[in-house]
Amino acid sequence: MSMKERIQGLVKEAETYRSMSLLKQSKGKYMELLALVEKDPSTSKQKKLIDDIKSRIRAVDNEITEIDQATESPEISEDVQDLIRNLFSFSPNQATAAIEGAVALAKFGQYEKGVKELERLVKDGPTPLQAAINLLRCHLSLASPDVAVEQYKQWAVREELGKGDLKYLRTFLENYFKKRGIEAELPETGEESAEKADMEGKSDDILDLSSLGIQFEDGPYKGKTVEFDVSFQSGNKVSIIIPSNKKALVDLFKQGQRLSNIQCTSSIAIFNGSGAVSGKTKVTTGPKHGSYNIDITLDGR
């Protein structure tokens, strides 16, 4: 291959990548070309050619910078915002779906709209604590810890949330900051203990439970505690799924049965509770086909 053909080949490659916005690859080819031209005695003196290649490299560099600096939160129409909210709310529970939709908006760069929506859900929604936690998460991940602290202070002053909820949110923020070595001053919410405050004044005990440890009083698991992941939660009603191959466990749950020793694990606290089996159904469709869904209604405190 002649020098001319090699140069033409590299220029073609570089320009093709550039047209596809594969800019780093384009720059790589131009650099390869520059090295080739500068090294070869037949072209190393051709100032015009070398200047042209360098100018193209600068142009590609500028495009790279422009892309790196481009906004990641473009203005999008109300219709598209609504679309995002609808497409990315998956829960069959309306209250949870509304929160998911608002969080999706924030994640897709519509931070202000998402935050507004979550603020509305804190104020008027059926699950204000859930909405408040997600609002803090949005501030922490998309804005800054200062914004989350300011939000918390506003809630504390305005008394929009109950003391129990505030205490819960405070613990949530404290744990978050502690893990990351962040120092922040949060206003006190009252004298009661976190556990007491958590449960006080809420009919639904809306803690985000991740698992339940149930101690059985009879049968093959007598005296043992078995851990189950929570598959769904709406207030104090939680569901667990037991695979069909664990028939002995499935048989231990009977409709109406009291469960007096349940260890409830949430992201920020573990507490003991009790409840009753409020439903037991076989899953007939989907990937969990054949498994059993056990609904448990936890007692309020």
Partner: protein
Amino acid sequence: MAIFNAKDRVIECRLVFYGPGRCGKTTNLEHIFKAGKKYTQSDMVSINTKGDRTLFFDFLPMGLGKVKGCDVKLQLYTVPGQAKYSSTRKLVLKSVDGVVFVADSLEVRRQANILSLKDLQQNLAEQNMNIFKIPLVIQYNKRDLGDDGIPILPLEVLEKDLNSKLKAPSFSASAVNGKGVAETLKKSIQITLSYLNRELKWTQ
């Protein structure tokens, strides 16, 4: 997982076009939108950033009409390919029913394909989904560039890199010219609906 309304006999499922940045995911959807007007239910939604790069996702809803007595509705999505948009990819991948992995045939994108496929596997696993089980079709895009003297990877190399273990159906394509796009989509719909029938028994 797809939504199946047994009463009205409607099934709605989600297909996601995945792959490295600038591999042609959006171009695939644009061609489907133009060529399949009678199946598309509204305009295609694209949210791009500088350089026509997908920032969040592209979205194209389609109605396939009746299949085995059931009204089949499709939602086609693309993910942003750039590595930094990992959380967005995870969100778009949520509740996915089938995946089209669009690989870039360019030699210079060999590593990017491999990393993107690993990213897909990881993001599916985070949602308790298995790349070996989910309906997956692989498309080797930009095959036309070979004719222009641009170095592209031979199909055997792409198959070895990406599909030696997965054994997914694969297609050559040139999405910019529309070649291979329909075949890829058709196969993806076919295996996804068949998978969903095993899971949801929607044809019964």
